[in-house]
């Protein structure tokens, strides 16, 4: 039983505009040294899924640089391996696709030419270590036509964004799909991870083209529910959807929790791989004071860092203070500067004595390459 993966790199770009101005959601940096796609690629590879199509649309230059030949995930294979499916624009082609279904129709020849039995569809918006092999096993055991993964979530605050809720009966059968514009209370949160036979997906794509369907979850899924059996896979682990900036901030803070760190990173059969940069180790100077923080390689820290996540190559000078922050790669925080509840994109320079402060639930975002 051979499986292939289809990974959507651009879906959800619009929900995190700050960080997706020059990149896809797949290449958004997370947890001090990773990018969002690392979790999907690593876990597929760890589940022995070694034929993976990454569907891209726009702004995929940084994604391609990060993924490269797939070597870092051991996915540079003669057969299968990673295929980037970009819109190979030519004069005849229409406008770029805008959703999952159109994207897969664009990738149909890739999907049709595979020899895999099963297809796994996945997005890049979740911080989680999903074990795809378990979903596949449950899919096969259930005998269902499609398996959809969900997570029982209780939202303590109302959050504005589109979510898909699955109705699942006691036998684990999906009986309905609902779409909401906000998240509130308890629900079976649809993870947009699907497993089905490759032949079935090809059939769906043919039908979608014939009938002009536009959306997988709004047009196709309800039809499937009427005719086919859809099994619900309940994911029981940690999950965080990187949907808005505050959730992005919280996802980073989550990793300061030892249990979450252990679950995501310390499963020996499900390690998380990322693109290798050969950074030197991080060095702490004589004035460093660092507490409850996750620190990547290649940093030089001689100031105060607390409750923060620092990516590779960050410099925190003597007398600088970084608290409750997410500091992306190659930032320089100069002497006397002070940051609190700040998220900085890459290559930001915060000059001496500068004081920047957001607040809980509303972090202050500083864009790529700014010098303040």
């Amino acid at each position: 039983m051979k499986s292939m993966g289809i990974v959507f790199s651009n879906i959800h770009d619009q929900s995190l505009p700050e960080l997706t101005r020059r990149r896809t959601i797949a290449s958004v940096p997370i947890a001090a040294r990773y990018r969002m796609i690392d979790f999907v690629l690593s876990s597929l590879a760890n589940s022995k899924v070694t034929e993976i199509g990454i569907i891209t649309k726009t702004k995929y230059h940084s994604l391609m640089q990060h993924v490269g030949s797939g070597k870092d995930w051991d996915l540079d294979r003669k057969n299968g391996g990673i295929t980037t499916i970009a819109p190979f624009v030519d004069a005849q082609s229409g406008p770029l696709y805008t959703n999952r279904l159109e994207a897969m129709i664009n990738a149909r020849s890739y999907i049709e030419s595979s020899k895999a039995d099963l297809v796994i569809l996945a997005d890049c918006d979740l911080l989680a270590n999903v074990h795809y092999n378990e979903i596949i096993d449950e899919h096969l055991e259930s005998g269902a036509d499609v398996t959809a993964a969900y997570k029982k979530i209780k939202f303590v605050r109302k959050i504005d964004r589109n979510v898909q809720e699955l109705e699942v009966d006691d036998e684990g059968k999906v009986t309905g799909v609902r779409h909401h514009n906000e998240c509130t209370g308890s629900m079976n949160y649809g993870m947009n991870i699907y497993v089905m036979s490759r032949q079935m997906l090809v059939g769906i794509l043919n039908e979608a083209q014939t009938y002009g369907f536009k959306s997988f979850s709004k047009d196709v899924l309800p039809r499937l529910l009427r005719t086919y059996s859809i099994h619900g896979y309940e994911f029981k682990g940690y999950i965080r959807s990187i949907s808005v900036l505050d959730e992005y901030f919280k996802a980073n803070m989550d990793v300061l929790d030892r249990d979450i760190r252990d679950e995501i990173f310390d499963n020996k059969d499900f390690p998380v791989f990322t693109h290798v940069l050969d950074s030197p180790p991080t060095q702490y100077g004589p004035k460093a004071q660092v507490k409850n923080s996750l620190i990547a390689d290649g940093c030089y820290i001689n100031g105060v860092v607390e409750n923060s996540v620092l990516f590779r190559g960050v410099r925190v000078d003597e007398g600088a203070s970084v608290k409750n922050c997410v500091i992306l790669n190659d930032n320089i925080i100069e002497n006397g500067a002070s940051l609190d509840h700040v998220v900085t994109d890459k290559r930001v320079l915060v000059s001496r004595e500068r004081r920047l402060s957001g607040c809980e639930g509303y972090p202050f975002f500083i864009g790529w390459g700014e010098s303040l």
Partner: protein
Amino acid sequence: MARRKECVAMLLAGGQGSRLYPLTKYVAKPALYFGGKYRIIDFPLSNCINSGIDTVGVLTQYQPLELNDYIGNGQPWDLDRNYGGAHILPPYQKTEGTDWYKGTANAIYQNIPFMEKYDPEYVLILSGDHIYSMDYNRMLQEHKDNNADCTIAVLEVPLEEASRFGILTTDSDNKITEFEEKPKEPKSTKASMGIYIFTYDVMKRYLERDEEDRDSDNDFGKNVIPAMLGDGCRMFTYAFEGYWKDVGTIPSLWESNMDMLAIKKELNLADPSWRFYYRHAPRHPHYMGKDAVVNNCIIAEGCEIEGTVENSVIFADVSVGEGAVIRDSVIMPDTSIGRGAIVNYSVISTRVKIGENATIGEPFANDSSKITVLGDDVEVGSGENVEAGSSLEGSARGQREVVS
């Protein structure tokens, strides 16, 4: 179909490293950990690719398993080339018989068939026990400019230390006039770094001749270099400046790790145009706990630091429990230090387990005989005390015995 490679490097990685025992009980010296992230062999391999030399034979013999694994296909150093790249060269059986490598010259001699595949003009001979950053290409350029048969990289050493080295005397053009191994009364302060460039054809001739001499130790320093000098070959020194450390003993290994803590390091590990490459394992960034105290140290990925770390080099996946204190020490990967344990002036190898409230060594005293060494897999029980200057080796199951 031999496409030519101008220069092939041969890296002697067979040394048993007995002065580094017990760290070298299970691994060859070049595979020893260094500087928080690296192994010793990362330095010559990175220097090679950064110098544009992409064909490296790695001659192994003693405990090569971990080294072989580490080098693997050479990919981390960009040495996974279709033509060239890194090749492990162990001794092997031939139709006429079998030989382990004898001296350094014999090891190279036995691999003439490997070198000839690349039809090289020059051969660079390296060893796997030095920490340094060096552009071999500049040395090669001087070798060519001098129309030399052999060029030896040299370092200026203080006169009082010169008798520990192979010392070269030269004329004003850097042409070597004399070579003495560890002279009692050194005539110069130019010490050989054990890095040679030979014009291939000349070297081959001398290696063949050396093989025929049954009394020879088949060693470059003892036999081949003196023979060439005696015949009046064109031999030159190449003056190297910069950080260079032979990490052949426990004190020098400790010291060179400590050198990496300097803020202005002599050896810049962060230079983007001269990266030191290493093989990665998938580990998360390190975590500094709520009560962690750090001061002047290097900490690698995967660590979980809840205690105090000062003036120390901490490798990957080390855990330091609450209240534990580490000072002036080198802690290699996958080691755990229990709560309240105290580690001073020590070199702790990989997979060591130190129990709660144990005490290892005594505070730094500038007396290298007081360095405490724990070998691979040593286990120290809760509350136990390991005396300063001890050297313990572990077995696979974590028991231990005193070796010195």
